[in-house]
């Protein structure tokens, strides 16, 4: 069916729905319901014509083509994300390793290590700059990515330095510095959850924000359990696995940012979750095989949320009279 074959409001809605394929089911529902309401208003408006056929014709003409509406809606709701992708990849792959190179590699990863001290702060500063850029661009996807990244790094810093480290002596930061870190952490957490709430109709985007936190929690939980209950330690992973993991990290981001198809964006999330699980499983197998179920929590969670997203399909018949 093409635009020329549109004979009724229902035909129009069917065509429009095809144009909105990259949108979340809820977004599709909202847009289609609004247009269906417009069609209903037009069909009941005597100023459009004496009989229903005349009103129908004029109404369809005034609607404009569904292809144009779909294109304009995409421009508003799905702007070109290539620049956003570059604003994630370039800092993550270039600036952050550059900071580590300039400051120097940590010697012993203890809380006293000055390289780690400055490296953490340098990386957080870069994340803060990217948050500012995301805010200026009004890009929620950039804000979500960098706020979750900075949140995790802040938590890492504070776990090491604010007396929460298990089994290690923490550096007592000055009271003012501690207060500043706490304020930034709370402010960032509020920003992060507000962003997720604002985009709650797009479960893929919500998952995009929550996944790094879920993976970090799963990782920390597994590490903490192993370190406190057993004498086992993580195996040194082969180089090829690290390289594969890095390639997957770039690939999933590119797929998520650039793919117009919703299923591919979910696939990208699953790829990243499996990537993290793979690293954990390889690190602890064969000594701790029961780590495997815990390591699989993120990919299983992604599948569950994807299933919920699919359930929220737009109503099959947004029927017009």
């Amino acid at each position: 069916m093409t635009s020329q074959d549109i004979f009724s409001g229902q035909d129009y809605l069917v065509q429009l729905r095809k144009q909105l394929k990259g949108f979340s089911p809820r977004e599709q529902t909202v847009i289609l319901e609004e247009i269906a309401s417009h069609i209903e208003s037009g069909q009941g408006d005597p100023s459009l014509g004496g009989d229903s056929t005349e009103r129908q014709c004029r109404l369809l003409k005034e609607l404009g083509s569904p292809e144009l509406m779909g294109k304009k809606m995409k421009q508003v709701h799905r702007p070109n994300r290539l620049l956003d992708l570059l604003l994630v990849l370039i800092p993550a792959l270039v600036f952050i390793p550059l900071v580590s190179m300039i400051i120097g590699q940590p010697n012993d990863y203890s809380t006293q290590d000055p390289h780690l001290f400055w490296s953490l702060r340098g990386v957080i500063a870069i994340g803060g700059l990217m948050l500012l850029i995301g805010w200026l661009r009004r890009s929620d996807i950039l804000l979500i990515y960098w706020s979750s990244d900075v949140l995790l790094r802040l938590l890492h810093l504070m776990l090491r330095e604010e007396r929460f480290v298990i089994g290690q002596e923490a550096i007592p930061n000055s009271a003012i510095e501690s207060l500043v870190w706490w304020l930034i952490l709370v402010g960032l957490a509020i920003l992060f959850f507000r962003l997720l709430w604002r985009n709650r109709t797009d479960l893929a985007l919500v998952m995009f924000g929550l996944l790094p936190i879920l993976m970090a929690a799963s990782n920390m939980g597994a590490n903490a359990w192993v370190e406190t209950h057993t004498a086992a330690f993580a195996l040194a992973l082969p180089d090829w696995l690290y390289r594969l993991s890095r390639v997957i990290e770039v690939a999933w981001l590119a797929l998520f940012f650039l793919s117009p198809r919703r299923e591919l964006r979910w696939l990208a999330l699953e790829l990243e979750a499996l990537n993290a699980s793979m690293m954990n499983i390889f690190a602890y197998l064969p000594d701790q095989p029961y780590i495997a179920p815990a390591a699989l929590i993120p990919p299983v969670f992604v599948v569950l949320v994807w299933w919920l997203d699919r359930r929220n399909q737009p109503q099959a018949g947004l029927r017009t009279s």
Partner: protein
């Protein structure tokens, strides 16, 4: 796109905000009012109107809420925000200046014959 089409496109947010500044409206109502006020001159299609409304909402110049309508369906009403009012005032002033300067420039200058003869 012709110059006229570009002008019309550029004035779309201003036109919509000016209607919303009077009262909250739903999309179909905005379209009809725009057509009526301009005597048919501004008759944008729904394919342009609704994305423009969504853009205004994203920029926080307008906000929306669903309300029950007289028919089977509920309607999405839009209202202008405080930020939208400020932008509307500024845009109106810019357009007035633009149109005034344009016509001043188009009008041939009045020459003083005495000055010319020296």
């Amino acid at each position: 796109m012709s110059n006229l089409q570009q002008l019309r496109k550029g004035s779309t947010p201003l036109l919509i905000l000016s209607l919303l500044a009077e009262e909250k409206m739903y999309g179909y109502q905005i379209m009809r009012k725009l057509e009526q006020r301009s005597q048919g001159y501004f008759n944008m299609t729904a394919a342009l109107l609704y994305p423009a409304l969504h853009q205004l909402e994203q920029e926080e110049l307008a906000e929306s809420e669903w309300q029950e309508g007289p028919g089977e369906r509920r309607r999405k009403y839009y209202r202008i925000t405080d930020k939208g009012r400020k932008v509307l005032e500024k845009s109106e002033a810019e357009w007035r200046t633009f149109v005034a300067r344009l016509f001043e420039t188009l009008q041939p200058p009045q020459t003083n014959l005495q000055e010319c003869s020296g």
